[in-house]
């Protein structure tokens, strides 16, 4: 097992897959999904109460994966914790052997299943990265010295389809300055848009993993176009899905094609199966990964 930044340094095309902790304590399915991909992906990216839906935490699942010899990425958001808790959880992650960290702002609580909760956002993704970088130097945000320094591989996210995209790029630049060593993107369905984006951010000289979300149906594509920020599924793909007799097969075919087309443009792929975890091995086969 190697940390993600080490893999990027070794010029490996990195493959990660997202897994979500359950709402509850039954980990059977999450661990089964991970086992299916043992040896096939470089790391498992564990979500932090994704979409502001209360679930089991990201860190304990990361730790359990690590115990099983699977490399985790700890997603940590600013939604639910102030700077004291965030820094403490980063230290906790390190002592549990969890060193790949994905720093996120996090969804707003109003979008989840506890909309009455108090949103925290004491830090944002940029200052969270700064905090993690400081911890690595043996200092916390208050300037106090640490007993023992953690070491992390720090990641962040970017949306290549954000409009205006300049705002995404300026923030991406800030994240690099704050310590981000790799990026994963929001779902991309248009290789041309992605190529233009990669061209614009080449000056940052930072590895980017393109985000792939399996399309389940034409309706899902239309829903994302309308409701998911920075995601655009072009009409020809929607039509392809619509006409396909076997949606699952077509979905994998499209995703594999996108990965093959975008592989030369970037340094890795981040797969978000959203319920279709069991189909990821077939996708990896079809994409030649």
């Amino acid at each position: 097992m190697a940390l993600l930044n080490e893999l990027f340094e070794a010029k490996k095309f990195v493959v990660t897959v997202e897994i979500g902790p359950p709402k509850g304590v039954d980990l059977t399915e999450a661990l089964e999904d991970a086992e299916l991909l043992r040896g096939r992906v470089d790391a498992f990216n564990v979500t932090d109460q994704q979409s502001s839906v209360m679930r089991l935490g990201s860190l304990p699942l990361c730790h359990l994966l690590k115990d099983r010899g699977l490399e985790p990425v700890f997603q940590i958001t600013c939604r639910d914790r102030n700077r004291i808790a965030l820094q403490s959880d980063l230290l906790s992650a390190y002592v549990l052997g969890v060193q790949n960290i994905l720093c996120l702002t996090g969804d707003h609580v109003s979008l989840g299943d506890h909309p009455q909760a108090k949103p925290v956002f004491d830090l944002d993704s940029v200052s969270l990265l700064q905090a993690a970088s400081l911890l690595q130097k043996g200092q916390d945000l208050a300037g106090k010295e640490l007993k023992g320094k953690p070491q992390f591989s720090l990641g962040a996210v970017v949306t290549p389809g954000g409009d205006p995209v300049e705002l995404q790029i300026i923030k991406m630049e800030k994240k690099v300055k704050a310590g981000a060593q790799f990026f994963q993107t929001q779902a991309v369905y248009e290789p041309e848009t992605f190529a233009r984006f990669m061209d614009k951010v080449s000056y940052l000289n930072v590895p980017v993993m393109v985000g792939i979300v399996l399309l389940k149906s034409a309706a899902m594509a239309r829903f994302m176009n309308k409701n998911v920020a920075g995601v655009h599924v072009p009409e020809n793909l929607i039509e392809e899905m619509d006409k396909a007799p076997n949606k699952a097969q077509k979905s994998i075919e499209i995703a594999a094609r996108l990965i093959r087309e975008m592989r030369p443009l970037c340094q890795g792929v981040h797969i978000m199966p959203i319920g279709w975890e069991k189909r990821v091995p077939a996708l990896l086969d079809a994409a030649g990964l």
């Binding site: 600013c78 700077r83 702002t105 969804d107 707003h108 109003s110 979008l111 949103p119 956002f121 004491d122 830090l123 944002d124 993704s125 940029v126 200052s127 700064q130 945000l141 996210v157 970017v158 949306t159 954000g162 409009d163 205006p164 300049e166 705002l167 995404q168 300026i170 923030k171 630049e173 800030k174 300055k177 704050a178 929001q186 409701n227 998911v228 920020a229 920075g230």
Partner: protein, 217 residues
């Protein structure tokens, strides 16, 4: 301006339970501008209270209810009615209600309004939130538009991933605060300010209750 809303009359009436003689105080400042606690609204309230069987023994408008000296002066002019009043209803923000309570000392004081936010008054019927009184103004670097107030996540370093076609994910009817800031900085030729990393806020400046005593030092 502090934006307020009138409480439902049933709630106001229930809070006055046990009191027959009521004195009503309005505010000549924000609540007058926003038509929630000016003279017209105070007179309406007096009628409603009488309709509910209460005796309104008087009313007054303090020029600024939250200004203790002005409220004290105004109430002094009504001291005999106030001596008789069993309860005092205040049509102002919470600062005005508390100022009145502190001035009247041993008289029960009740709020008729809910205080909501500090706003820009756009027109007579429209006001939007513009300042959270964070104590650490960063408007110099954001083109005069406040991300602490306008972004539901109070983000200081640019938008989250949730802006969709320029609109906010939390309030899809509103432009993303950072998209607004971006356009504004572009217009005034200060886009370079967007590249500066903003440090996290000193939240201790928002720790309450806050107090300033310029004479103490």
């Amino acid at each position: 301006m502090i934006v307020t809303e009138q409480k439902a009359f049933t709630e106001v009436n229930e809070s006055l339970v046990g009191h027959q003689k009521i004195f009503v105080i309005g505010c000549g400042s924000c609540a007058t501008a926003w038509h929630t606690g000016g003279e017209a609204e105070v007179k309406e309230m007096v009628e409603k209270l009488q309709g509910a069987g209460k005796t309104c023994i008087g009313w007054a408008i303090s020029e600024e209810t939250c200004d203790e000296r002005k409220t004290r002066r105004e109430l002094r002019a009504h001291s005999s009615e106030l001596a008789e009043a069993e309860g005092v209803l205040v049509m102002s923000c919470g600062a005005g209600v508390q100022t009145t309570a502190l001035v009247l000392e041993d008289k029960p004081v009740y709020p008729a309004l809910n205080a909501m936010f500090l706003a820009r008054l756009q027109r007579l019927t429209r006001a939007d939130e513009r300042c959270l009184l964070c104590g650490e103004c960063i408007l110099a670097s954001t083109g005069g538009l406040c991300p602490v107030t306008l972004c539901p996540k109070e983000l200081l370093n640019g938008p989250c991933g949730g802006y969709n076609h320029g609109m906010c994910e939390v309030n899809p009817d509103r432009e993303c605060a950072w998209v607004s800031i971006y356009h504004r900085l572009q217009r005034i030729g200060q886009l370079d300010r967007l590249h500066l990393i903003q440090s996290p806020k000193d939240q201790s400046k928002r720790g309450h209750p806050r107090l300033v005593d310029k004479g103490a030092a």
